[in-house]
Every structure is written in C-alpha cells, then in structure tokens.
C-alpha cells in the first residue's frame, strides 16, 4: 500500500501559544518502500506518524492510503510505539494472540501463528510471562510481533528502538530489516538515530522544527546483502551518515536545540 500526504498542516496550542507542528507537508511513500523521518525533537515527526495512523486529525490537507482518505485508525496501518503499549494484563502469548482474534482461523491455528511470531522474535520459553517480567528490549520485540501478527500492509514505527541500549537496538534493527525484506511491507519510521536511519531506509527525510517542514531528502542506495560490519564501515555508508548527520545538526542548531562548541 502506498501513502500520500498532501499539504498537511497541524497546529497545537500550548500555554495559550500556537505551535505549528506541521506546515504544509507533502510526502509520498511507495508500496514496499522503507522511509525514515529524522529531525530535532519537537519537530512534529511523531505528530505526522500519528496523523497517518489516524489518531490525530489534520487542520488542513489530507492523507490517503491507496487513494482512500484516512479518517480513523485501521488495521491496515500497524503502529509500534516507543513506549511499547503492550497490554500489561496479558502474557506475551496473549498479547500476540490479541490481533489474531479477529482473523477467521481456528484456535489451534491462532496458537500456531502466535508461536511462530514468538519464535521469530526469539522469545520461546517466555510465552506465559507478563510484560512487567520482561526487559525493555524483550517488550519491544513483543510489541513488534503483536503488530506483525495483525498483518498490516503499512508499518508505522515511532522511534521504536529509542529506549533501548545500543546492543539490543542493533539486534532489533537487523530483525526489522529482515522482516521488511521478507514481507515487503511499506515502512515509515520516525527516529532520531542517524546511523539507524541510514542502515534501514531506502530514503531519509530531514525535518525542521517549529514549523515542522521537510527540508532535505536523502536517497540511500546500499547493498544490504553484505554483512553489517562491511556495510557500516564502507565509505558509501560513512559518507551518507556524515551528510545526514550534518543536515540534522543544522536543523537542531536552527531550532536552538544544539549549540556550536567553541574550538579549543
């Protein structure tokens, strides 16, 4: 499924002051494409994702998924939240079973499907644990599996790995990459991690803050069949990462979120 965003604008009032979270944003994501949005915090990138998900209505402009205007959340757009959003009263298995309830299949097929997702995320043996008994990385794996079990055509990822330590993050990045390559789903990810954006995406869009606008776009053409070490240390990767980092830093400075350090 493809996503088309046209002239999307959204303002919020905070302490009586109007903040333009998004200002005339246009975006087209092709079917099966992996696109990342990166920018300083508060630039409205999560707002954009929530609007595509149908949680937040636009002030003006519109969002279409395969030509149909988005007005509410739907099962065609799965969301992975930074704060996991697992149902704490359900076990790992029950959380993954949740989206399978509406699917027309027998109970034993449901359990089989849930089990295959549990294997996919490497949580075999943790089926009957509650979220409170899991680490952050494990919770995020369950959240990803739950969203995948709903089988949405579009994955909307809101800084899904932001709260994790560097090692866990790398493992889950590889898992995300594998899932995307295997399923061919359309992915739109919001992140603040420059390397992550380059490593995973085919296209990275840089946003400015207040007003939130798209300011730059990078096409990422990498041969992802080579091992991660080779890829991340290649000159193409490093160059792309540096360019993207500079672009993001420029926006952070413009937004007053970073300052120039005086040379020693």
């Amino acid at each position: 499924m493809k996503i088309t965003v046209r002239q999307l604008t959204r303002t919020f009032s905070r302490d009586g002051k109007l903040t333009t979270a998004l200002d005339s944003v246009n975006l087209a994501v092709k079917e099966g494409e992996f696109v990342s949005i990166i920018g300083p915090s508060g630039c409205g990138k999560s707002t954009l994702l929530y609007m595509i998900a149908g949680f937040v209505p636009p002030d003006s402009g519109d969002i279409a998924v395969d030509g149909r205007i988005v007005r509410s959340p739907g099962v065609d757009r799965g969301v992975v939240f930074q704060e996991y959003a697992l149902f704490p009263w359900l076990t790992v298995e029950q959380n993954i079973l949740y989206p399978l309830q509406r699917r027309p299949m027998s109970d034993s097929d449901r359990r089989h499907t849930a089990q295959s997702y549990i294997e996919l995320i490497g949580l075999g043996g943790f089926e009957s644990r509650y979220p409170k008994e899991l680490s952050g990385g494990m919770r995020q794996r369950v959240a990803l599996a739950r969203t995948l079990a709903a089988d949405p055509d579009i994955l909307l990822l809101d800084e899904p790995l932001g709260a994790l330590d560097a090692q866990t993050r790398e493992v889950l990045q590889d898992e995300l990459l594998r899932v995307w390559q295997r399923t061919g789903k359309t992915v739109l990810m919001v992140t603040h991690d420059v390397s992550e954006a380059v490593y995973l995406s085919e296209r990275v869009i840089v946003m400015s803050a207040r007003p939130g606008r798209f300011v730059q776009e990078f096409k990422i053409e990498l041969d992802r069949s080579v091992p991660r070490e080779t890829l991340e240390t290649s000159s193409t990767f490093t160059e792309l990462r540096n360019k993207l980092w500079l672009a993001v830093r420029q926006e952070a400075i413009a937004a007053g979120l970073a300052t120039q350090r005086a040379p020693a």
Partner: protein, 257 residues
C-alpha cells in the same frame, strides 16, 4: 507466602479479643454492659448456631444480591460516562447530588415503596454500593493510557470488544478499589435496613436482642456479623490480588490509589 499474610492479618483481632476478655474478667467494666468473649460464646451456643447461621445466610444473600447488581450497573454506567461526554453531563449532577446523602435515609421510603422484606434491603444495598463503583470505574476507564487506546484501535476488533478486552482490564485496579469500598457499604446498609425493614437477617437479630435486653446474645450475633464482613473482605482481597497479578507494583492497591 499468601497464607503467611492472612495469618498475620489475624494477629491484631486475636489480641483485641484476649484484651477484651481480661478487661471484663478483672472487672474494669461491668459485664452486664460488655459481656466477655466467653460469655458471648456461651450465648451463641444457647441461641443456636444453626439459627444464627440461617440469619447470616439471609443477610449475605441481600449483601451479595445488592452488590452484584451495583457492580453490573455501576461498571457499565461508569464506563459509559467515561467514554461519552453527553452521558457524563447527564448523570454527573444526579450522582453528585446524592453523593453526600446517607443512603440509610432512603430506607423508610423504600419500605413505603417495596414493603418489608428482601427487596427493600437489596435496593438499599444497591443504592449505597452504586456510587463507589460508578466513580472508580469512571476514573479507571478515563485514565486508560492513550497509547493503549491507540494500540487497540490499530489491532482490530469491534467497539464493544475493545471495551471488554482493553478498557475494562486496563481499569480493573480502580474498579476493584470501588468494589471493595462497596462491599463495606453493603454490610453497613444491609444491617441498618434489616433493623427496620426486615423480619430476618443478622441486623434484625441484633436489633431484637438489643431491645429485649439480651446483650450476650446481641453480642453473639454482632460477632458473627463482624466475622462474616471480615472474611468477605479478606476473600475479596485474595481474588483481587490474583486478578491483578500482572500489575507492575507489588501491592495492587497502590496503583489504584
């Protein structure tokens, strides 16, 4: 571990009974006004444990019938109010206006409408239990985290299914708190209603013995009532802790506070 906790919760009541016996025995208070635990036990055997248990059964039926009805109506109404601003605007002033009225004040009116017997007592219990259940269900459902609501919306299911499978479990800690308060109110109201609007039940028994001057027997009936209310609360806490074992906090009631 759990058995440990419930045994410990008996320490202070047992200590109180022992102290009570001592105070009466050494003559600090007149045994005619405050019979000792042994006198009360003797009276309990004399008036017939079977008869007392029968009256207890009648009272418990009213307590749980009223509480059950209040739980059904209260959880449904509280959830509906939390999900719909129009419903909230309609019911909030009505509930607010009866909030501070002692529900026992309705008992004479209920006798007029429903006569003496089970129904007037059950309705009195229902009215008293309804408010805490509505209020806590309302807050519980209203405070369901936004990401859980959003998550549920993208994972499919009917509106009713989402309320049943997401909103109510997410609000369950609060709902349990409301129900526990309601359980206390239920014993309170069933006893007061039975005293004037019933021909059976522990409330009636206590009242009758008190008027007849049989204080040993009155205390025996009262002790059974206290034990029953205490046991019901303990059982409720057990059920609640089991149902809320998924909660991140050690003590489920902390999260509900």
């Amino acid at each position: 571990m759990r058995a440990h906790t419930s045994v410990r919760s008996l320490y202070s009541p047992v200590a109180l009974v022992v102290l009570w016996e001592l105070i009466v025995r050494i003559g600090l208070v007149d045994a005619a006004f405050l019979p000792s635990p042994t006198q009360i036990t003797r009276a309990f055997v004399e008036i017939g444990p079977l008869m007392v248990l029968e009256q207890l059964g009648a009272s418990l039926f009213r307590v749980f019938a009223g509480l059950f009805a209040a739980a059904l109506v209260g959880i449904a109404l509280g959830t509906w109010m939390a999900r719909n601003a129009h419903v909230d605007r309609f019911f909030a002033p009505i509930l607010g206006s009866i909030y501070s009225v002692p529900k026992s004040a309705f008992i004479p009116l209920l006798i007029l409408w429903l006569g003496v017997g089970n129904s007037s007592t059950i309705v009195a219990v229902f009215l008293a239990c309804l408010l805490p259940v509505v209020v806590y269900s309302f807050h519980g459902v209203q405070e369901v985290p936004r990401v859980l609501q959003w998550g549920a919306a993208t994972l499919g299911g009917t509106r009713g299914g989402i309320i049943w499978r997401v909103y109510l479990p997410a609000a369950s800690a609060q709902i349990f708190t409301g129900l526990r308060i309601a359980l206390g109110f239920a014993f309170f109201l069933s006893t007061s209603a039975e005293m004037i609007a019933s021909t059976s039940g522990l409330g009636k028994l206590i009242f009758a013995y008190g008027q007849g001057g049989n204080y040993d027997a009155m205390f025996a009936a009262l002790a059974v009532l206290v034990a029953a209310a205490f046991a019901a609360d303990q059982a409720f806490v057990r059920i609640r802790d089991r149902q809320l074992r998924w909660m991140p906090t050690q003590r489920a009631n902390q999260a509900a506070a």
